[in-house]
């Protein structure tokens, strides 16, 4: 079999990735600029026996995928800023109840209705802290369609491995831009399937007791194990508890299972970093312009490189330190007011050497925008 090649939008690349990963169930609500994901899945899912439902609102969509995940399905919802805000309570429920699910946020300008049809990367911190209470979260991103595909598959793999919601933080430019996607053959990218318990019916099953390797085998609703799922702090059977030891233990477990595996989840790309004195650090569509700058300045003898983050949460601190600690200058390129830049500053050895090159006007950041900031940093004026 030859690989299928398509010329499509980023939102469609996400759909292809989700279907490759084995998506069974999608619930969503129309919102720009993510609607194409719902449109394509409404056609594609039933063709292979999957289910699509357009719910009455964003909240209901998030709730419906959690319900469907509990019957053993791989599930997805897609939205943008305002919808992402509405989903936050149920997202926290998925964190607490440890429900594998994937949430796409194709970012647009905010706050509020903002600039619905234009690009932004302003939801980085909302992805991290949007739901209430201490918790950890996984958020992945991508700058081109091949990576959108790969990160979507990875999101499902992480969701199943760690029994956790995973956020795909794309943006309007990547979502709507058309470019080539080469769909890998079946089996080329390994898939993680739902880990189901081997405990027989009639024997006590503990849905919230991690195995030695940290994974928590599940049992589908409808199978022999009848257990309780709740957003309350719960014991290993899933029943509510306010015992301080259980409260503490559960919170630690929810945070540790993500943070202790941060290095396994750290996806990134490096370009010309071996001898780079100036490191551009970027992600999503902004990384395309950053790469443009690097490829423009390298032939002119400038020691500049790019670190492109694909995992935003858990924040890949080790990777950032490795490439930025020894750099003369680190310039974070992003389309927000410095949400990742702040994280980099708190991570590296010399925060005073970290600068921000950004745009917040709904217009895609260009290589000229970034070069202007570089000239300012070097005292050359604009």
């Amino acid at each position: 079999m030859t690989r299928q090649i398509k010329f499509i939008q980023g939102n469609e690349a996400c759909v292809e990735g989700a279907l490759y990963a084995g998506l069974d169930f999608f619930a969503g609500y129309p919102i720009t600029p993510s609607t194409e994901i719902a449109e394509h899945l409404s056609r594609r899912l039933p063709q292979q026996g999957g289910k699509f439902i357009q719910m009455e609102d964003e909240i209901a969509s998030m709730c419906a995928i959690i319900g469907a995940s509990l019957t053993g399905k791989k599930v997805l919802t897609a939205t943008s800023g305002p919808g992402f805000s509405l989903k936050q309570e149920a997202l926290g429920y998925a964190v607490m109840a440890e429900i594998p699910c994937v949430i796409v946020n194709v970012q647009r300008g905010g706050p509020s209705t903002g600039v619905p049809t234009h690009v932004s990367q302003g939801d980085v911190m909302q992805a991290r802290w949007g739901t209430h209470g201490d918790h950890s979260i996984v958020a992945l991103t991508a700058s081109n369609h091949q990576d959108v595909f790969a990160m979507t598959v990875e999101a499902f793999n992480i969701a199943e491995t760690y029994r956790t919601p995973v956020i795909l933080l794309f943006d309007e430019v990547v979502g709507h831009m058309r470019e080539r996607l080469e769909i890998p053959e079946k089996g080329e990218i390994p898939l993680v399937e739902r880990l189901r318990t081997a405990v027989q019916g009639g024997v006590d099953y503990h849905p919230y007791l991690p195995r030695e390797d940290g994974r928590l085998p599940m049992s589908d609703f409808g199978d022999v194990h009848r257990y309780n799922v709740t957003g309350l702090v719960h014991d290993m059977w899933g029943f509510p508890s306010d015992n301080p030891k259980i409260v503490h233990g559960l919170l630690r477990h929810l945070v540790d299972k993500i943070e202790n595996n941060a290095s396994q989840m750290a996806h990134y790309k490096t370009f010309y970093l071996e001898d780079a004195e100036t490191v551009l650090l970027s992600f999503g569509s902004a990384a395309r312009s950053a790469l443009h700058v690097v490829e423009h300045l390298r032939p002119r003898g400038e020691k500049i490189g790019l670190l492109e983050l694909q995992t935003l949460w858990p924040f890949p601190a080790d990777v950032v330190q490795q490439y930025c600690n020894s750099a003369r200058t680190t310039v974070v390129v992003e389309m927000n007011m410095g949400q990742v830049c702040q994280m980099v500053k708190t991570t590296v050895r010399h925060p005073e050497r970290v600068f921000l090159a950004n745009r917040i006007d709904g217009v895609f950041i260009t290589d000229a925008d970034i070069r202007n900031v570089l000239r300012l940093i070097e005292g050359k004026g604009v």
């Binding site: 209901a60 709730c63 319900g67 469907a68 509990l70 609703f221």
Partner: protein
């Protein structure tokens, strides 16, 4: 199977106040399921937040205790992804029709095969006695110290208007009727709504000088009448109970199966 086999006995005694009507609803529910002889493994109970929602923890089904108002949205995901499961959604009046009002009308509109039980005690009990959209004008509550001016919903009229294909009302006093109605609701293929008038002596009763549980239940007996009774003609203020709607309309999951057939056949 014995009635006791349907409950998780280690969680008893339950957390409801003495005199609360919700335990009677639990009783009626278990008796209806027991009569149907359904396997516990095919039963899923999805609930929201509030006194009513704690009913799920006591049932030995697959139980999903969710967030406030959203039980029907979670239940829609469960049912559509695995239609062979029987899904029952007990909710309180605030849970179902205030914060969850949108999900309530849309689940009814879709006619998805879920049994919704609205345990209506006309008050927010878990938070200590605030007025709900079912309290109605003149009711006293901790957030209506000068009496409530909000008009109330009628659960039955609301469910009918939204398109539910099975709509019924009963009370915690009429426990035999309750078990029969819940049984019929579970058997009905489509979205079923059962309003169970329930008493909250702790907050509603105390705030509104309606006495204890016995007096409140007596009031339910006296203020209700079977649908279309002679008493209703003579006393129009009486609240009717019984099955108001029981009709056949295409059920959502069955319709979706036809979508799959169409999509696979390329028609």
């Amino acid at each position: 199977m014995a009635v006791n086999d349907y409950i998780r006995q280690r969680f008893f005694p339950h957390l409801w106040c003495s005199g609360c009507g919700h335990g009677i609803v639990l009783n009626g529910l278990i008796r209806s399921v027991e009569k149907l002889g359904m396997s516990r493994n095919e039963m899923v109970m999805v609930s929201g937040i509030g006194c009513s929602s704690r009913i799920s923890g006591y049932m030995d089904f697959h139980t999903l205790h969710t967030i406030h108002g959203r039980a029907l949205a979670f239940a829609t995901g469960v049912k559509l992804s695995k239609p062979e499961l029987n899904v029952i959604v007990p909710m309180g009046d605030g849970d179902a029709l205030s914060i969850g009002g949108n999900h309530f009308i849309h689940a009814a509109r879709r006619n998805i095969d879920i049994t919704a039980i609205v345990m209506n005690n006309r008050i927010y009990g878990m938070t200590g006695g605030q007025y709900s959209p079912l309290s109605g004008p003149g009711v006293m509550a901790t957030t209506a110290p000068y009496s409530n001016i909000d008009q109330g919903f009628d659960v039955v009229e609301m469910a009918k208007a939204a398109g539910a294909t099975f709509v019924a009302r009963t009370t915690a006093y009429h426990v035999q009727q309750m078990a029969d109605i819940i049984r019929a609701a579970i058997l009905h293929e489509g979205f079923s709504v059962v309003e169970v008038m329930s008493q909250c002596p702790t907050y509603f009763g105390r705030k509104n000088k309606q006495g204890g549980a016995v007096e409140m239940m007596k009031r339910m007996k006296e203020s209700t009448t079977p649908i279309g009774s002679k008493a209703k003609a003579e006393h129009p203020e009486l609240i009717e109970r019984g099955i108001f709607v029981q009709t056949d309309k295409p059920e959502y999951c069955s319709e979706y199966d036809r979508i799959i057939e169409r999509a696979m056949g390329g028609v």
